[in-house]
Amino acid sequence: MKLKNVLVSGLAAAALMAGTAGAMELKIGVAAEPYPPFSSPNSSGEWEGWEIEIMDAVCAAAELDCVLTPVAWDGIIPSLTGKQIDVIMSSMSITEERQKTIDFSDPYYNTPAVIVADKSLDVEPTPESLAGKIVGVQASTIHQTYAQQYFTDSEIRVYQTQDEANQDVFSGRIDATQADSIAMADFVESETGAACCEIKGSVAHDEAILGSGVGAGIRKGDDDIREAINKGIAAIKEDGTYDEITAKYFSVDISG
């Protein structure tokens, strides 16, 4: 199925190439694990969400020919450096540690990190309050790094997907989870989330670990791709497309 898509779009690109030379073909890597409301597959197998729409808008504005490519989140940076994909657009925060390996575009959203826990549990989003508790985080995220750095007196469990961490807060196996505020707002409004959990507040900011917003990951040296993506992001912020898409999903401004 996917192969056919790639082939078809490849042929289309080749056909277009003759006429409108310059439409760069890019494979955009998205984590294969659902991350609502930013990116998740729906029941007909298509990807949807805020970030997917932003991606389409950026690609259209920058006249890029983008092919969405799901990749395991856990291996998304090696996939980029190994050239299986050309761009990461998967809610990846810009951090110093990652910048040693890859480059980033300008940030396209920025939200705080929050702690979600069982309603009956009286905790604050601080290391002291979470001491002795079990905190779940998604692997390879800023939240994992943060939890391992600050919540030294808590037991840290590392999950493959945020959804699984949420599920274990719901089942009661873990006491709390740390994740992005928007994704968590979506979870606590969902049927299961509303039954069990609430946001306990955002954690103390640490720029070095939590980074300065979410950007598109690009291989070092691919400056033309970065330029193109930056141009696209600037363009959709300018002409109102960005706000339009955001308003469809969120009641707050997340552009940071």
Binding site: E33, P41, P70, P78, Q84, Q160
Partner: protein
């Protein structure tokens, strides 16, 4: 039908699994098709490696034999999950490097092709051993007889060795095919949209973990059972004209 579902409180599960829009049944089936495609490809690729590997191990020079021994030992001692990760990253890296050396750009590698390559290498090690054992089990007298008739080595291979070894190889290969179908599940960990990953996506989107994992388990089980029936036929066909095994089963 509907009253029956209501009776067991399964209306909700049936809705989740339905093939049309709000249900995720079509996703599971699409995943199953991908899984089978990868499993078939990997099994075939593995068989090709296995045939060369077995011949190399039996008739090759000492270096070939040692290298093949290293290959089969390493693959059979390292967990498939680890091999899949290594081969997945190494494989695409190598292909891209090779294409760059030849002056081309990065090559488009579809998930299915990468999955077939990764699992095929793993399957190749096992089928090498199975086919080697099967070739060795062919009574030497049959091959000697063929040789004394003046048959050429390729003709002996085609007319005598391969048909005679089939009956020894089929049970092992049947088992290997089942391993191939089940190993495709491991590709979920590197993000291929095969049955297990589709199941996981459906389960976490709907939070109906039990329903979807059970449904996927049922699909895998059907594949296993159907394969069992098919391989029984193949085995009977391969055993054609041979005396019945004593106390079979």
């Amino acid at each position: 039908m509907e009253t029956l579902l209501q009776l067991f409180g399964l209306t909700e599960s049936a809705q989740l699994l339905s093939l049309s829009e709000p249900g995720w049944g079509a996703n599971l089936l699409r995943g199953l098709a991908n899984s089978l495609q990868i499993a078939l490809g990997a099994f075939g690729f593995g068989l090709v490696i296995g045939l060369f590997g077995a011949c190399g191990k039996l008739y090759g020079g000492p270096v070939t034999r040692d290298l093949l021994a290293i290959y089969t030992t390493v693959v059979r001692a390292v967990p498939e999950l680890v091999l899949i990760l290594i081969l997945f990253f190494v494989g695409t890296d190598l292909i891209n490097k090779a294409s760059e050396a030849l002056g081309g750009g990065p090559v488009e590698i579809s998930g299915v092709a990468a999955g077939i390559w990764v699992l095929g290498i793993v399957q190749g090690a096992y089928s090498t051993e199975i086919l080697r054992g099967a070739i060795q089990a062919v009574p030497p007298g049959q091959i000697e007889a063929a040789r004394s008739f003046g048959m050429s080595p390729t003709l002996i291979m085609r007319r005598v060795t391969i048909p005679a070894m089939m009956s020894f190889a089929v049970p092992g290969l049947a088992n290997l095919w089942l391993i191939a179908t089940k190993d495709t599940a491991l590709l979920a960990v590197v993000g291929f949209s095969e049955l297990t990953l589709e199941t996981r996506q459906a389960a976490s989107s709907t939070r109906a973990y039990f329903t979807f994992f059970l449904a996927a388990g049922f699909l895998y089980l059907m594949v296993t059972l159907l394969s069992g029936v098919v391989f029984k036929y193949v085995e009977n066909w391969a055993r054609k004209g041979q005396p019945k095994l004593r106390g079979a089963g």
